[in-house]
Subunit: 446 residues, 2 copies
Amino acid sequence: MNERQEEARFRRRAVKVDDAMEMVIAAAVPGRRETVPLWEAGGRRLAESAAATTDWPPFARAGLDGFAVRSADTALASPGSPAMLRVVDAVAAGEIASADVAPGTAVRIMTGGAVPPGADAVVMLEQTADARLDGQAAVRVKSAARPGQNVAPRGEEFRRGSVFAGPGELLRPGHVALLGTFGYAAVPVYARPRVAVLATGAELLPVEAPLAPGRIRDSNSAMVAALIMQSGGVPVMLGRVPDEPEAAARAVADALARCDMLITTGGVSVGDYDVMATLLRGLGPVEAAAEGEAQQLQPQSRLSPQLPPDSRLLFNKAAMRPGAPTSAAVVSGRLLLALSGNPGACFVGFELFARPAIARLQGASPEQARPKQATAKLVGGFAKGSPHERFVRARLYAENGVLYADPLAFGKSSMLASIPSADGLIRLKPGASGAAEGEIVDVILL
Amino acid sequence: MNERQEEARFRRRAVKVDDAMEMVIAAAVPGRRETVPLWEAGGRRLAESAAATTDWPPFARAGLDGFAVRSADTALASPGSPAMLRVVDAVAAGEIASADVAPGTAVRIMTGGAVPPGADAVVMLEQTADARLDGQAAVRVKSAARPGQNVAPRGEEFRRGSVFAGPGELLRPGHVALLGTFGYAAVPVYARPRVAVLATGAELLPVEAPLAPGRIRDSNSAMVAALIMQSGGVPVMLGRVPDEPEAAARAVADALARCDMLITTGGVSVGDYDVMATLLRGLGPVEAAAEGEAQQLQPQSRLSPQLPPDSRLLFNKAAMRPGAPTSAAVVSGRLLLALSGNPGACFVGFELFARPAIARLQGASPEQARPKQATAKLVGGFAKGSPHERFVRARLYAENGVLYADPLAFGKSSMLASIPSADGLIRLKPGASGAAEGEIVDVILL
């Protein structure tokens, strides 16, 4: 590497994390749709709006087991002086009473049963006693019923046609219940995106290999696969990128021809052997391309191994620690995310860029795709400032209603040991000074 | 139903929620094991301890790209008066230097490379400049290096043999990274338990059916399936339990012969048609059975439809709202959880009993199986007390480091609309008065 190349590497323009995130979200286009049986729809993202197909409840429903009554008939009832009502019918849930509830009568009703016309309240079974009146079935009601008591009126929760979930909504179990209620036996959802995983680094051994001097096993690929599955994607494991740039360019292009997105790990920093940095440098700096300096860029591109001609760089440096060299590009219309090879930085890069992109490929809106954030009280303090935003893995816990963020392995992004324990990423703002004990900090929830 | 039967129903003994949870956890026995490829291990529970198979890092590693130096050689270096060192080798990650770092020399090294003997620090590339010394490659180091700077010593994070995850641990992406690092290409995990789902209720229509007067669709089964999948189980959808008790008993026994656990919804309350209550009543009250009053119980059991003879009731009433009639039994050595048919109560019952049980079937320890709890500040207040613990669905959010729990649909457990928005369940202690605005409450995290 000569001085000029080295200088070119150091000259990378750092993009703010939020801006980089928006670029990635904009470049990830919602993909294919499919239909799944309702019971498998949990955890998927809806592809269309879902609306109430009927008023809900569809009829006045009994909230518990007891007797449907006219509340007026029970106005004076008490344990010592119960109201005596003739029982004209008994309806199980799913049945319809054969008779209305006329004054002086009651209908035995089960939870979820349709309250018969005439009745405006349900008295719970425990507040009644069986009786006989003129040789016929009757009931003693021991307390006054309020009008509407234990009755859910028709349409109380939903009016027919009201939308309860929009496209891109992540279906939680409660959504599945609503979809079932309204008859969605098959649910239109976005397909799980196929996300290719490629590692770079001549030092990497496959996980199953014995260690050799100076070498380590590729643990990032499997970690990224686990993160992809967590995000609703399907990992496609492609092994290691060849070290040789032309072959690496072909591997990248092949992966993106087969998959909806590609995540690479490693090879993005300023070292001599950083193959992803080499490939992406060929795409030229963003600002120059945007200003139309194509003539100046073309020769530079030709010096580099060729990615497909429609490729464009999104960014090759993010204003963050760890993971500054994290890079992103669009290759053949699909997103290539080049994460750092440092496990901690790789993890942070995934949460900031890959998880939102995978959500977006499944139809999430930009708002839905962004990481969930909260604020928390910092445990301990950081003396040292940082010129860029810093992301610190943290354990979160609530004590006495206060949410605390307890940093794990501050300044040791290479540390593997604490990754499993992280519930959040503290976002420390750039600045000369660090953050004080007890300061309120933004936290990305993991 | 005669007065005596009715009395028997009302006499159900309410078990405290925490006690009921422990009963369920004790009854769910960790199940089969299997081996999965590492990249699929995320979200599974480990079946054995996993330990470091080597010191980690396995050698002194360079934390960034630069030059491996003897820090003493750079002690007086500054931008105006750099230290000049002869470059004796260049090692990529994965390579081993051919020469030690003798006084006055340096080795070009990449991130992750093995720091050669002699060197005790790595100077980042940006703080150096290429040079020539006596016609040979050299480097100018512009700042003093601290001993140990940018070097991760061998064994800094893990000593060989140290256990980093135990049996029952839920494997997060960070665990997967550690397993990869230490060569676990195939991971012993607990098999995903097969959890049968059966609905009860004559009013229920299949989700695909058009509505009919007085009827509703079975939305609980699909919701429970989504919850089972979230918990790591495999739902086995068996439709609706026959209304006729003998047939229902057979359906229950068949389900438990095929699956590791059974969840039923509905049919547990005091109504005339509550088939699960009828089946479980045949098992007799827990306290009597525990005191060995077998003779007295036998005839009562025979009156009821027969579950397999080794069946035992765990509880048929929980001291909670909603979901008081939630019941649990062990049938043929396997757990039967009978949840309320009310969707909100069904949801709460799942979180309190089914999720812990499914975790336990996957090898979670009792501690790991219990719901994750936090404390939060209550938004709004509840005037009304409750004789039993009350579980209120809530939206959780953090503002200024304070965790708030905003109740959804208090007192309307039948409400479907708010289930999807719930992030937590507020646990309101039993008592004459409710809870005040701003009070700190326990919250189960969903």
